[in-house]
Symmetry: C2
Subunit: 306 residues, 2 copies
Amino acid sequence: MSTSAHQRPVIAIDWGTSSLRGARLGQDGQVLESREFARGILTVPPGQFEAVFDEHFGDWMHAPDALCLISGMAGNRQGWQEAPYCPCPAGFAELGQHLLWLQPGRIALVPGLSCMGQDALHTPDVMRGEEVQIFGALQLAGRDSATLVLPGTHSKWVQVQSGRVTHFQTFMTGEVYALLSQHSILGKTLDLNGAFDEAAFLQGVDQSQKAGSVLNKLFAVRTLGLFDRLPAAALPSYLSGLLIGEELRIQEVHPAQGAVILIGSDALTLRYTLALQHLGIACQSRGAEATWAGLHALASNLTNPP
Amino acid sequence: MSTSAHQRPVIAIDWGTSSLRGARLGQDGQVLESREFARGILTVPPGQFEAVFDEHFGDWMHAPDALCLISGMAGNRQGWQEAPYCPCPAGFAELGQHLLWLQPGRIALVPGLSCMGQDALHTPDVMRGEEVQIFGALQLAGRDSATLVLPGTHSKWVQVQSGRVTHFQTFMTGEVYALLSQHSILGKTLDLNGAFDEAAFLQGVDQSQKAGSVLNKLFAVRTLGLFDRLPAAALPSYLSGLLIGEELRIQEVHPAQGAVILIGSDALTLRYTLALQHLGIACQSRGAEATWAGLHALASNLTNPP
């Protein structure tokens, strides 16, 4: 009779596009030791993933009963091996069934999630890595239902009901912000070295809630600068408010669902917190600890690893 | 007693960011001769505008009563001289009063138009060069009221009533399309060499009219490719439909105002025509001839040049 999974030493790995992070977790999920390397999947040649893994975490795997779960882009087509997306609705049970075992019972890739739209093309949406953060944040918050937001290059809005992700949507907010501020005509008038300007940010949020299209509202970043309505150093904050506000504009968040849970860096969750509070929506934030909590919870829920 | 302006030889110049075009016009506005040079204002060092003008059009100005009107970015801060924007509402009378005479009675810069928003920041909008095309297209269509669209890098939607521009809005549609297709993650899955795909374009237009945000809909360009729902060669057309459709989504065009007038290149006006017709909005197109017609009409309406 095997010991149940949560009593085994758990090695949690978050292998993303640009970085490789790992943690050795204790019985209750506490981080005993962690490591981070600039070895994102983009730096690893095909066929070399196992070697890179052994080099950085091989010593942790010496324990004969170690269990390692790897989330993030390592399960992507360009990663260690493709772990097919697990379709929503999905919770711990579905994720556990869809693990891709690299070494049976010892090392597995956690699949991302997919969810299909109701439109004629059944437009898919996908995530990879965020699913673990979502379940970890819920665990830490002691909740099994919530609206969660994971701001970033490709921001995710996620609905979780009774421990399962039922629906999510990706917004290209962060990438569009970077493109516009660095490569568009708007970049000519705005000063990216300016400190975050809360008032200008909230003016952008306000403007984004009005009738019209963001494709038009964006042009104001140029003219407000040309006509000296806003200083160049405030324009990046105004642009950020316009884009984050556009993302928030279409959300329907019911107070009965409880506070929105934000997961991300301090700088980004601060902006979303300001915008959400400005629009009267309660929220709370979680950081990187959500990843380890999610992988630990997933390992603890694995009753029958192969 | 001076002859009225429209009997004088009219030299029409369109000096834009990347090109310099000129036409010598006959009594009725017909083009007697035209020239085009790769001498947009970005290629002209400060203080050299008059020399470049003389070099390319000096011979046309030998006629002692020649009248030259120059529209476009030459009147910009980085151009020959800054011709301050003429505030809307504006028609021929207002444009004529705001001409910036470089040589009194002989050579003038046509000012762009500005229009102020109703929001807290009174967000301005501006155009420079398009105003001449607008009045030219109306002249050619024999109308004095219309909704006009000038698609491009920064697409303009313009309301004209009784010969005066009453309101307009700029959309960053073309620039956002270029940034996303060339510099974003979407560029990794789409094939920019594909021919225009009308069906995929209209699927994008349909999708853009639905509830939600364009920041989310854009991400579908990636997933539709990853999940093989649309071929890579069709994705640029789908993206174009999403963005042009987003621009159209917020327009209120009343059939009583008559057909929408599109002014632009054949390739772009074709796409807008398809999208507008798909949404049940009648339209007609005008090309580069609108510029010469507009400058001729402006010259003809100058009753009292200085």
